[in-house]
Amino acid sequence: MSLKTLSPMTTFADPKLKDICNQNLRKQLNNLLNQLPENELQQALQNSFNTLVAQILSDKLPHTQLVDLFADAYENLLASYDKAELTESEKMTSYINATGLVMSVENAVHTFQDIYRVQAFLRGIHQALAEKKDSEAVYIVYPACGPCAPLLLPLISYYASRDIDRQRLKITLIDIQPGAVKALNKLISDLDIADYIHEVLCCDVMDFQPNYKIDVLVMEALQHGFTREGHLAFARHLVPFLSEDAIMLPEKITVTASLNIGQREYVDQWANQERSHSSLVDQDIQNERSVLGEVFSLSLDKLHKLTIIPLGDGMELVECNQVQIPKGIENINKTSLLLSVTATTFGNEQIKEYDSGITHPLCDMSVCIDFVPKAAEPDDLLVKSGDWLKFYYKLSGTPGFLPTVA
């Protein structure tokens, strides 16, 4: 058997959007590209982005309508990306650095498929900018934005089509991947939004030292369970550069711990669904969960009050909350620890559990409650019902939570 990676049983992306990635459609797209003149492609891209944003700002759309709008925009986005003509190295390089995973540009493009995440940010940023309407200039920074800056640029394209805030918004886009910056520049040109762009930087966010105060920080550098990418490290680094009344999006990220049987949570719950979403969860299975409590939350206020524990070699721990494993739960030895993220981008705009790739509950298999694993792993933590779990957050190349027995 050859080595293959396992696919998740459910996916945040609608199958229709995933299909766009397949080879056949790519070929069709290439044919299309060869037929359409450059300016028509740009027009199609701008139109699809503007229609998408106009619709999602005006109302919360039914899923199928949302998918259709995103599918159209995504196809045009891929056309712009293809035209950027990235090299194999620019597209495929991925690595871990001091703050976390640097995803390949090729993978990062697909973030746009995560439609409820994109929608929540676009709506949230629009509302946040409305709060800044009296400011002469609004400096927006979007670190680790990837090749498409998908949480912001569709909105800016929409603004450009209506000549909104053209001279007022000053956007800085940052990505460490040269290929991402190359694709971004192509996209900015195709969207004709250069007037809004203060700078596009190819650098590590940790090296970014702006000579201006950031008014709006748009950031989403995390994977499910608030792991793998450098979101918290980036946020800590950028705090000194925020203006007094700065807005950070998401306004709040909350991580909650719960227990459930993996088969029930990840398999049975989605057996009859072709996608996952908070509106599609099985309430009976959700009721089977034992909610332990909030492990961590991140907001501007919390960011100023983090307790940091230096461990040497550049590694640090952030002290988080502790939760108790309940006693008297039947089959608790068959349950796993789930870490679930929910995010409020701004105001009432939320990304709930299962709405997005980043809010899929993460199963931490290292915590063994009332059982000893047959095949022990070095990271195993053996705990009992009634124990308190104290969590720390690792600021390292593999950021994520470190549960300990309190």
Binding site: S89, S94, Y95, T398
Partner: protein, 309 residues
């Protein structure tokens, strides 16, 4: 001195080069093939017969057949080489000068059936081809002659075996000179303790223990298993591949757990974290073929952050 007539006692085709050399120098009496008859032995026997070399198959623990053959071939020295079977002492003692075993290590270290694998795996840089007398205990007889051999940093098991083969003429020259000068073999006891052994390889020996192994150790493990054993086993979930070449890397792991892919690119390839250092996986084989690390990762849809188990 009688003309030397040598019988080779073996159980596999790896002894062909020794047999060919003895025939070339006109000292080969015949070949005894020990062990349960299989395709490899049948092909060896057929090949020898076609070259007009006397050959006799011998089942385990049967003395008459080999003794009769040795006697009828007028053999006066036996050489055991690449033989996984125990040779009965009465058989070994039949030739006038007795029988010697050629063992691929500087005995007393690396006694056992897989000395080449374990010397490379342990990062040895010096080996030897040792000729020792047969005794009741495997690889423990007095030493008759020894030829030192250098193990290069890129030597695989096959390379080291070839180097051992190339040292056979020099080793045999020493033995022939002893017989010529003294009329018998000049033996000396094995010096020192056997501190390192060479146990028969199991599948477990091919597993990579990411949490324990150092980059140097893993490079040696992979090299030792290349090619016969498919290097070392690469596992992710339920899937497996064979790691055939690895090289130490200077990339920091940034505290990524051992086994985590910390870098993947066409330029630098596939680099994985170990406990305190990192390693580049150069060549990997699976059902798709033999690929470099980057291509393998791409075919298998791997990316940084994923973890080998």
């Amino acid at each position: 001195m009688d003309k030397l007539r040598i019988t080779v006692l073996t159980s596999g085709a790896s002894s062909l080069e020794l047999i060919g050399y003895l025939q070339q120098i006109n000292k080969l009496a015949g070949v005894l093939i020990f062990g349960t008859w299989d395709q490899e032995k049948a092909m060896l026997a057929q090949q020898l017969s076609q070259a007009n070399i006397s050959v006799q198959s011998c089942s385990n623990n049967e003395n008459d057949t080999p003794i009769t053959a040795i006697t009828s071939w007028k053999c006066n020295l036996g050489i055991v080489f690449c033989c996984r079977e125990k040779i009965p002492l009465p058989v070994a003692n039949t030739p006038k000068y007795g029988s010697i075993n050629l063992h691929g290590s500087p005995l007393p270290n690396y006694r056992g059936p897989d000395p080449i694998y374990w010397q490379i795996r342990n990062g040895e840089t010096e080996s030897a081809l040792t000729a020792h007398l047969l005794t009741d205990q495997f690889d423990q007889g007095n030493i008759v002659a020894q030829e030192p051999i250098f193990i290069g940093p890129f030597d695989t098991a096959n390379r080291l075996f070839s180097n051992l083969i190339q040292s056979i003429p020099a080793l045999l020259e020493t033995i022939f000179e002893q017989i010529k000068q003294f009329g018998q073999l000049q033996e000396r006891p094995q010096q020192g303790e056997c501190l390192l052994t060479a146990a028969r390889l199991t599948e477990q020996d091919l597993v990579i223990y990411w949490h324990k192994v150092t980059a140097k150790q893993l490079c040696s493990q992979v090299r030792a298993g290349n090619p016969q054993h498919g290097g070392a086993r690469l596992n992710m979930g339920q899937s497996h591949a064979q790691l055939l070449q690895a090289t130490s890397s200077l990339l920091s792991t940034y505290d990524a757990p051992p086994g985590t892919i910390i870098h993947l690119s066409p330029d630098q390839g596939l680099i994985v974290a170990l406990k305190e250092e990192s390693i580049r996986l150069d060549i990997i084989a699976n059902n798709d073929g033999v690929l470099d690390g980057y291509r393998f990762a791409k075919v298998c849809q791997l990316s940084a952050g994923m973890k080998f188990t």
